[in-house]
Symmetry: C2
Subunit: 219 residues, 2 copies
């Protein structure tokens, strides 16, 4: 397996955590999202990922000489759930599974997409908003999402987002918190999120996946 | 089951299609997203959905007198997949399932969140962008997403997004196309999307779920 990613991409970070939790190895290939106008826009990468986004997981089937190109971090993680079910990221009961999914999707659909690189570039280049406005935009969507997530965590969390086992909700939350800290979003009002951040980052699977621990990190 | 939704909400529209495809009944309760400053912001609704978004699916368990409150359309649909698996919205093979999920998530994570009501309100109220700029923003993210989706559809579609069976990808795509048409986005460059739109809207499950066929529709 080859994982095309970037050290600072939240979506690639999610997949790194999931691979580590499941004990799966992948060769990491860096797609620099800024250098040369963004390597994700090069024709050879677009052939792997028509959305021109990271991550992409490429799986070679040596028997059939075919190649599976998987895009969208949550689709990749669901694929890993199917083929490597020894470590499960979703609870067995349908009701619990729905709660975990709703927390993961709150981050993946309602926070992350508003704050990723392409959107911030559009705000600067097309709408010519100031750096202050861009920062306010970023903080706004983080606070909106985290405030609602805290309500769900108050009801369902333990050591981690859902009780005391690591789930897909943690896999999505931790990269988003990392990003929020990078953009100096004050997180004092989110005691459950802070506890889960601390607990997850005690675990090797999360530590190994941290952006600064990637080969392509520039610090 | 009670589905809290709104006729024009794309996310509620997805859940309506999924319920219809699976032959499940739910009482539809309208949450007017604009009237009175938005009924989704009322305390009694926030108790059901701390994100103040539709849809929410509420399931009463009469035996235990407990209530399950499910949020996030894709988490709700996954829940329905677990409890009503007779009609499957995802293929059995892990590789095919990943492709369907990637198409569904392309719409749900990278198109829809950028164009929903809250974002358009923020653009007007906080960033004071003009109506032309707001329309350009809307069109930009639709075109970006649909252009990439057409590449995937060219490889995988038949009558529907993935071969000749209706899947989660269609459930996500059709409400997004409906919205694009509402905002006058020209769709001539997307032959596969147009074909799938026509084919899905031949099916009762999709027709019954159309916004204009809802009780709370104002036309």
């Amino acid at each position: 397996m080859k994982l095309y990613g970037y050290w600072r991409s939240s979506a690639a970070y999610r997949v790194r955590i999931a691979l580590n939790l499941k004990g799966l190895q992948a060769e990491h290939i860096s797609v620099h999202l800024v250098k040369d106008g963004g390597q994700q826009h090069k024709p050879e990468y677009i052939d792997l990922n028509p959305q021109e986004l990271v991550p992409t997981l490429v799986i070679k089937n040596t028997a059939s000489e075919s190649e599976l190109k998987l895009t969208q971090s949550l689709a990749i993680i669901d694929y890993l759930e199917q083929v490597a079910p020894d470590v499960n990221l979703l609870p067995k009961s349908a009701a619990s599974r729905a709660v975990v999914n709703s927390m993961a999707l709150l981050v993946a659909c309602d926070v992350h997409p508003l704050n990723n690189l392409g959107i911030l570039q559009y705000l600067s280049n097309e709408l010519e908003v100031s750096d202050e406005q861009k920062s306010a935009w970023y903080h706004h969507w983080i606070h909106k999402g985290f405030k609602a997530l805290e309500v769900l965590l108050e009801q369902h969390s333990g050591q981690y987002c859902f009780g005391d086992s690591v789930t897909l909700a943690d896999v999505c939350l931790i990269p988003q918190v990392y990003n929020a800290k990078r953009f100096n979003v004050p997180l004092d009002d989110y005691p459950n999120i802070n506890r889960i951040w601390d607990n997850c980052n005690q675990l090797d699977s999360f530590k190994m996946a941290l952006p600064e621990n990637q080969e392509d990190a520039v610090i």
